[in-house]
Amino acid sequence: MAENKDFEPNIVAFLCNWCSYAGADLAGTSRITYPSNVRVIRVMCSGRVNPLFVMNALQQGADGVLISGCHPGDCHYMHGNYYARRRFNLMRNFLEYLGVEPERVRMSWVSASEGAKWKEVIEEVSEGIKKVGPMDQFKRRQLNW
């Protein structure tokens, strides 16, 4: 898809309560600015995120999806992030196989102390999606509404 300079991607992010959401909060407390196009859904653990949420987000209008959890070994619930890692690796590969650019389906480990990393992650995700452009071919509303 061609690069569109005016295109502002819309990113839905699923963050675990204990690490990544706290990391994003820290970015706020530290007044670290980053693109406003990321919208966060808080879940207790990245393990809660069903990979079909990714599909659903893309279908509901998102141009990209981010799942972020605790670093390996740091999960508040011991292993949730490991389950998430397996599921998303598979889903991401699969969506790529269908023609969904991997730039749209991202995963990160952001700890409660990594406010600065949160910013980097958002910038990288946002830039990546800008490069591949909007994903209108799957959006429910654009196809039958």
Partner: protein, 327 residues
């Protein structure tokens, strides 16, 4: 080759047992070269049973498709065994079903059929579109022998054999109580070249490829219903609350359906190929399932339906699982 008389005799013996309620096998179809599932309830029903390369159906699906009507007051549920004939590929469905605790091993009696390949009925139909009266197919060496209308024709095996059989890893059933024929050693392997080929294409190209296929989907759900691994009491994709996928048939919902279906089979699909076989509009569903299958094997060294003791793929992890895709 399975001796049909031996098969019927064995079936008669099995269905006569007190602890066996039903035997699921194959019988000739109604036209052409077809065979179809047979449901044997008593010794007198065994006379029609066959096994030939036309026996394409995976009968393991019927174990989990069974409808459990409410048991009437004062009555007991019939918990006797169901006997089922399975080929190597089909047997993996039983293994996976048991791995998922769908039922206990003692609920089924498995008649295993070592198999060197079944036909792709679509290829047979295309080659012999006019055969109406019952034709027969046998595999002799590397040829299929087709008998119909009083004639016999030999066709090289690779011309009519189902694609899945060309990459079959488990020709002999992995679970059985009795084998109906000599064991067949592994004669093929799967390199997933088809998947690798498609992986290499550009993103737009891939999307266009799948869009064409998914746009044909009429959402008849035959792929789901025939699947031996799709046996939820109530499929999430049918549900209205929450509604993962709308009923509208359009490219967006169709794509969502196919992503969901394939993902739900990740680490579970046993490659019997039934979904693709039954699809009336030729959506290459196995290309979806096989992508997951390949990744699951490459990334997690896991092959579904090979060992009842295996933990479910997505309920386990290794600390060292690959994570180079994570930021």
């Amino acid at each position: 080759m399975v001796d049909v008389n031996k098969l019927r005799e064995k079936a008669r013996e099995v269905i006569s047992r007190e602890d066996v309620r039903e035997l699921i096998g194959y019988r000739p179809g109604t036209y052409g070269f077809r065979a179809r599932p047979a449901f044997v309830m008593g010794p007198d029903d065994t006379g029609e049973l066959i096994f030939t390369p036309a026996c394409v159906n995976n009968l393991a699906s019927y174990i989990v498709l069974e409808e459990k009507l409410p048991v009437k007051r004062g009555e007991e549920p019939d918990l006797r065994k169901v006997a089922v004939m399975v080929k190597g590929c089909d047997s993996r469905a039983l293994v996976q079903q048991m791995e998922e605790k769908a039922y206990d091993r003692d609920r089924i009696l498995v008649l295993g059929i070592p198999c060197r390949g079944v036909v792709d009925m679509a290829k047979v139909q295309a080659k012999y579109p006019d055969v109406l009266e019952m034709g027969e197919i046998a595999l002799e060496g590397d040829k299929f022998v087709l008998s119909f209308n009083g004639t016999k024709e030999e066709v090289p095996r690779e011309e009519l054999v189902a694609d899945k059989c060309l990459r079959c890893r488990y020709p002999t059933p992995l679970v059985y109580d009795e084998l109906l024929d000599e064991e067949v050693e592994r004669f093929a392997d799967d390199d997933f070249a088809d998947v690798a080929e498609l992986e290499k294409r550009a993103a737009d190209d891939k999307w266009a490829y799948w869009e064409e296929k998914f746009s044909r989907c009429i959402r008849c759900y035959s792929c789901r219903n025939v699947c031996p691994m799709c046996y939820c009491e109530d499929c999430v994709l049918d549900r209205l609350q929450p509604q993962w996928m709308r009923r509208s048939v359009d490219i967006s919902e169709n794509t969502a359906y196919h992503i969901s279906r394939a993902y739900h089979l990740a680490g579970r699909c046993i490659q019997c190929g039934e979904c693709q076989r039954v699809c009336p509009v030729d959506i290459p569903l196995m290309e979806l399932n096989r992508k997951f299958y390949k990744d699951v094997e490459d990334l997690y060294d896991y092959e579904p339906g090979t060992n009842v003791e295996n933990p479910p793929l997505l309920s386990t992890f290794k600390v060292e699982d690959k994570e180079d895709f994570i930021m």
